[in-house]
């Protein structure tokens, strides 16, 4: 019974919270917060249930819900989950719940904040489940709107600039995406009904591809337009500059969501839409993608090293780490794909942790200047310990989950692009460089008198961090639950792109 509506429940439970919060008096801050907590907790538990009950040996979509929606245009309400989307759904559930607690000290317009937040959660779940192109687009755009306000109202000093930049940049990408979606639509025929279709599963079916536009250049243009739409989200160099601004200005919880979930949508889009729908173009442009991955890894790391703002450094580290995902996807190998998807999940966990950690120190010191601290480890030993673990996870220390994703990307891609991988591997040096340098400047050395008596990390903050620490450790030591989940779907994807 639950299985029949599981995905809809996950998507729309936050909407119930959204409505409830709208009905609450705005002074009831505690009610509002706990409503948000409850209505993100439920979908999180349901996403665990989804993981637990999913048949990992099957590559097909499961928990499918398919209803006609706008029949005139053959638009369907069509949800499903497979091995590629499930890790993303679980990640979304987990991070959106934990981030509620990172939002605890939002100090204005709580009602608006938490209602927009829940709307965002619905949209994020929707993107990872939608199997109708039109529905996918609706969720994709729906994300934009709350995100714009969450950055623009509750952000830092340059919040309006950052919010508009984020909005326009993403919008530019989604316009390109829309053009491609409609091109697909008008050139498709649903074999069952004979009408045009938005059904992604139908569109990705190899047997139906003969009906599509055949001209090479048109297909290439479609692939590129779609890619730019996704590349902005990842973000891929040179479309990445919205990210540091958005991250720096956004409140902590929103940075976590941005880095943890939103960036994944770009890579997810490549795996769910670009690769299956235009497999020939994916193969044709793979080397370009690999080069972009390389640039992201090395360039991102070097620019991260140049930052003096703690949060901006983490933002650029995201650029660098997402480069591994891009490189792994470009490899078109099973090992590389596994590495890329694992890296997506790990990045959500570890970078989520990093943004939470920056928030902890920012709440206390009210600045993020890497050169303005010193010796914090003396005052906040537990905080320093968790930060060192997160840094080590992020720089790919074996034993933590980050290593497994990265090393699989390397091992999988080396066969195809040895030179690109070798140059990318220099990233391990630079990454160690900027993380340890930042750590030394903030935490080590003689304790800065200014921060004597700074409050130690509190229970609420620990509550948001500890689950992520445990996951990073667990998957580093025993990643098989992850690989068992994604293997079948990734093999299928690999077959679609002709390998």
């Amino acid at each position: 019974m639950l299985s029949n509506y599981l995905l809809s429940l996950i998507v729309f439970t936050p909407m119930i919270g959204f409505v409830l919060i709208l009905l609450m008096p705005r002074e009831r801050v505690t009610w509002i917060r706990w409503t948000a907590a409850v209505f993100t907790f439920i979908p999180m538990v349901l996403s665990f249930y989804l993981y637990g009950t999913m048949d990992a040996s099957s590559a097909g979509f499961q928990f499918v819900e398919k209803y006609p929606w706008i029949t005139a245009f053959n638009i369907q309400y069509y949800l499903g989950a497979d091995g590629i989307s499930t890790p993303m759904i679980v990640l979304t559930g987990l991070l959106s719940f934990l981030s509620v607690f990172a939002s605890w000290n939002i100090n204005k317009a709580h009602k608006a904040y938490f209602s927009l937040y829940l709307l965002l959660v619905t949209a994020m779940f929707g993107v990872f489940m939608a199997l109708d192109f039109f529905l996918f687009y609706i969720f994709w755009e729906l994300m934009l709107f709350p995100m714009y306000f969450l950055i623009g109202i509750w952000g830092g000093p340059r919040r309006e600039y950052a919010a508009i930049k984020f909005f326009l940049y993403t919008l530019a990408g989604s316009v390109l995406m829309l053009v491609v979606i409609l091109t697909f639509y008008f050139n498709s025929t649903d074999p069952a009904t004979g009408s045009h279709t938005f059904n992604i599963v139908t569109l990705m079916n190899q047997a139906n591809q003969g009906m599509f536009i055949k001209q090479f250049w048109v297909r290439l243009a479609m692939y590129v337009a779609l890619f730019i739409g996704f590349a902005i989200k990842v973000p891929v160099f040179p479309f990445h500059t919205w990210l540091p601004d958005a991250h720096v200005e956004a409140p902590t919880a929103i940075s976590v969501i941005l880095a943890g979930v939103l960036l994944k949508m770009g890579a997810y889009g490549l795996m769910r839409i670009s690769y299956p729908l235009l497999p020939d173009m994916a193969a044709y442009t793979a080397i370009g993608l690999a080069i972009l991955g390389l640039i992201n890894i090395v360039y991102g790391a070097l620019v991260a090293m140049a930052q003096t703002d703690f949060k901006k450094m983490i933002a650029y580290s995201s650029v660098s780490h997402m480069g591994f995902v891009i490189l792994g996807l470009a490899s078109m190998t099973f090992i590389g794909f596994n590495g890329a998807l694992m890296q997506m999940f790990n990045h959500g966990i570890i970078t989520g942790m990093l943004f939470l950690l920056v928030g902890v120190i920012y709440d206390r010191a009210h600045h993020r200047d890497l050169n303005g601290f010193g010796g914090i480890a003396t005052y906040m030993p537990v905080y320093a310990g968790i930060t060192s673990l997160a840094f080590m996870g992020s720089l790919g220390l074996p034993g933590l989950s980050g290593f497994i994703g990265e090393v699989l990307v390397f091992l999988g891609t080396f066969k195809v692009y040895p030179v690109i991988v070798i140059v990318s591997a220099t990233g391990v040096i630079f990454t160690a460089g900027y993380f340890l340098w930042a750590y030394q400047r903030v935490f080590l050395g003689p304790p800065n008198e200014k921060y004597r008596g700074i409050a130690r990390i509190n229970g609420r903050e620990l509550f948001t961090l500890v689950p992520l620490v445990l996951i990073a450790l667990f998957l580093g030591v025993y990643p098989m639950p992850f690989f068992n989940l994604v293997g079948a779907s990734l093999s299928k994807l690999l077959m679609m792109v002709g390998h």
């Binding site: 620019v303 140049a306 090393v407 091992l411 066969k415 630079f430 080590l444």
Partner: protein
């Protein structure tokens, strides 16, 4: 003999890990005796298990001395599997015995040395964590799992070098160690990726297990194997402090002295030597890589020894000595004498750990003073420390009968006869032996003999260290004195037990020619002569004509400055490599902000200008027309209002129709 050990090898690394977790998580709330009992108890139990594993291995026939204990599948994809599995053979057993044995002794010593430290439990937690990572490194059955240990020991090294992080120099030394090691790791990663791919493409078997690679290695072309061998060795130059990546090790002396003994002398820094020995089947097919290793090892042995001649910090002398001795080990494995390299690794673990612990005892007594110019005459007040330190010094100098004599001689002999070595490598080794004897004699005389040069206050406090510190010294002194006899060469009319024990591991490796007995005696004579000439020269300068060193330093001032400042290598790296990197990152930072982001903002500004222009156009031209039509529209609006019935579906339909029309116009 103890077959059950075949299924519980995993306990050997796991026990120290458990100890580390307890001490790091709740150690600060435990009483100190509980803290160190847990730490020592776990590592000592690992040692006992290693002994059992050894006894079990020797009870098997020589050809079958190997077993694998797989706990679970760590990474398992279609066609690529890495198990959490441990390989026990003579080589890994020897390493496990050294690591857990010397490790236990140093854990015990730390109780005395760290007794007043405020982060006592964290120290033991890190030390246990190190033991875990090192045991994982030596026991793992695949390169990838070995790399986990490889990085793990690097992490612990970083944490322990910067253990007293309030002093910024210590923190910086830790960071330097980690980043320099990462440069090596880059090479290591490239090496194993290349090997993985080369074997995989040739055979269709994608694996990093030693066994699988070993059985398929013959199918890979020698050129690739040479590249792999050299890249893996680049990793070793980082971890094992060889030219050009040795620079982190002297700085690493910022850590607590027992850490210097365990990590930066006895165990971690020998990981590179172990790795080359473990990959002997690969190097046997990559002779050019072996030659590179031998040459780099010989140059490092010589080069570091020259720096050691003039250093005044007791730990710095020992640090350069370690770099130099590691060079010897690489000469050993580099000329294909893997057993000799491992033999020296073992004896060095004994005597160098002892030297560091002895220096720790001295520093402890001297209230933290490390400058040997301010010491002297300590022998009367610290008899145990002095005696044991002298024994270790005799061992490292290669005085006949002591442990280092047999192992160093083994290496030099093979360096001479091996096709991958030759006269040049051998000669560098011999000269380095002279230098070693010189700087060690100098160190011993300046520290323990002659007139006391410390101030009155310090002199009063000099005392022999407590039992927890002297007992480890005595244990290691015994091993330094007699540990070499298990590797006595056949010319003494005995079996070389150590070499025979390890032989099966290296069976498929390099075949070295046999030298004649007379050659072996001759070379041994040269080694002995080298040791005694170094000792004699140093004794003359520092024990007899004590005014001479200062005069010589004055006379050969340029040379002296270069040595004292370590040939300015650190300065060179700082200026050109670190400086270059800093310039590059600043350049890219500006590029990102100005060019990339500038383009984005420029596009936005352009868009706004266009919008302003269109806005003006709208107001004047379009609005004029619109207003005229407007009135007519009002009536039409009444009709259109019916469309706005509040159903989202209908809005969407209208929106989509609009887009569809637009798009059809464009495309069709």
């Amino acid at each position: 003999m103890y077959p059950c050990i075949e299924h519980c090898i995993w306990l050997i690394p796991l026990l120290p890990l458990t100890g580390a977790m307890v001490n790091l998580l709740i150690g600060s709330r435990l009483p100190r005796p509980v803290t160190h009992t847990i730490a020592i108890g776990t590592i000592a139990t690992s040692f006992v298990l290693s002994v059992i594993a050894y006894l079990h291995i020797v009870s098997l026939p020589p050809g079958q001395r190997q077993f694998i204990d797989t706990v679970y599948t760590w990474i398992g994809l279609q066609g690529f599997r890495v198990g959490l599995s441990f390989l026990v053979d003579p080589l890994s057993v020897v390493m496990a015995l050294i690591v857990s044995g010397v490790g236990s002794v140093i854990h015990l010593y730390s109780v005395g040395y760290m007794h007043g430290d405020k982060r006592y439990s964290r120290y033991f937690g890190f030390l246990n964590l190190f033991a875990f990572a090192m045991l994982l490194l030596v026991l793992s059955n695949s390169i990838l799992l070995m790399f986990v240990g490889w990085e793990g020991v690097g992490l612990c090294s970083y944490l322990l070098i910067g253990f007293w992080f309030e002093k910024i120099e210590n923190a910086k030394a830790g960071m330097k160690a980690f980043v320099v090691n990462r440069i090596g790791d880059f090479g290591f990663i490239v090496g194993f990726m290349l090997l993985f791919t080369a074997v995989g493409v040739r055979t269709g078997t994608w694996s990093l297990d030693f066994g699988v690679i070993k059985s398929n290695i013959g199918l890979v072309s020698p050129a690739i194997l040479t590249a792999v061998g050299i890249m893996l060795f680049v990793g070793a130059t980082g971890k094992s402090a060889q030219i050009p990546l040795y620079v982190w090790l002297p700085d690493a002396m910022a850590g607590p002295t027992p850490v210097s003994a365990l990590i930066h002398a006895a165990t971690m820094v020998t990981a590179g030597v172990y790795m080359v020995a473990r990959m002997n089947f690969l190097y046997a097919l990559a002779p050019d890589a072996l030659r590179v290793i031998a040459i780099v090892g010989a140059l490092t042995a010589f080069f570091a020894a020259t720096i050691g001649l003039v250093q005044n910090d007791i730990k710095k002398v020992l640090a350069y000595s370690t770099v130099s001795q590691l060079g010897y080990m690489f000469i050993g494995v580099g000329v294909g004498a893997f057993g000799a390299g491992i033999f020296h690794l073992m004896t060095h673990a004994f005597f160098k750990a002892l030297l560091f612990l002895g220096s720790g005892s001295v520093i402890h007594a001297m209230s933290g003073e490390q400058d040997i110019r301010k010491m002297g005459g300590l022998s009367s007040k610290m008899p145990i420390t002095t005696t044991t330190f002298v024994i270790a010094s005799l061992a490292i100098m290669g005085v006949p009968g002591f442990a280092g004599f047999f192992s160093k001689d083994d290496i030099l002999y093979h360096a001479y006869i091996s096709p991958y070595g030759g006269t040049f490598v051998w000669l560098l080794g011999v000269v380095a032996a002279v230098l070693t004897a010189f700087y060690m004699t100098r160190l011993v005389i300046l520290t323990f003999y002659g007139n006391p040069r410390m101030d009155h206050h310090t002199a009063e406090h000099v005392h022999e260290s407590p039992k927890t510190m002297t007992i480890p010294l005595i244990i290691l002194a015994i091993l330094s004195a007699i540990g070499g006899y298990i590797g006595m060469p056949a010319i003494f009319g005995v079996h070389n037990v150590f070499a025979q024990f390890l032989a099966p591991v290296f069976a498929s490796g390099v075949r070295l020619p046999e030298g004649s007995v007379s050659l072996e005696w001759t070379l041994m004579g040269v080694s002995v002569l080298a040791a005694f000439s170094g000792i004699g020269f140093a004794y003359y300068l520092y024990g007899v004509r004590t005014e001479l060193p200062a005069i010589m330093a004055e006379k050969y001032n340029t040379a002296y400055r270069w040595l004292l400042n370590k040939y300015y290598v650190d300065e060179f790296y700082q200026k050109y490599i670190v400086g270059g990197l800093m310039g590059l990152k600043d350049l890219l930072g500006v590029f990102d902000a100005r060019i990339i982001d500038g383009t984005v903002n420029g596009t936005a500004r352009l868009g706004r200008r266009l919008a302003d222009f269109e806005g003006a156009f709208d107001r004047v031209v379009v609005d004029g027309a619109v207003n005229a039509v407007g009135d007519g529209i009002v009536s039409a609006g009444a009709v259109l209002r019916k469309l706005q019935n509040g159903l989202v579906q209908n809005y969407l339909i209208v929106a989509v129709i609009g887009m569809a029309i637009l798009l059809s116009l464009v495309l069709l």
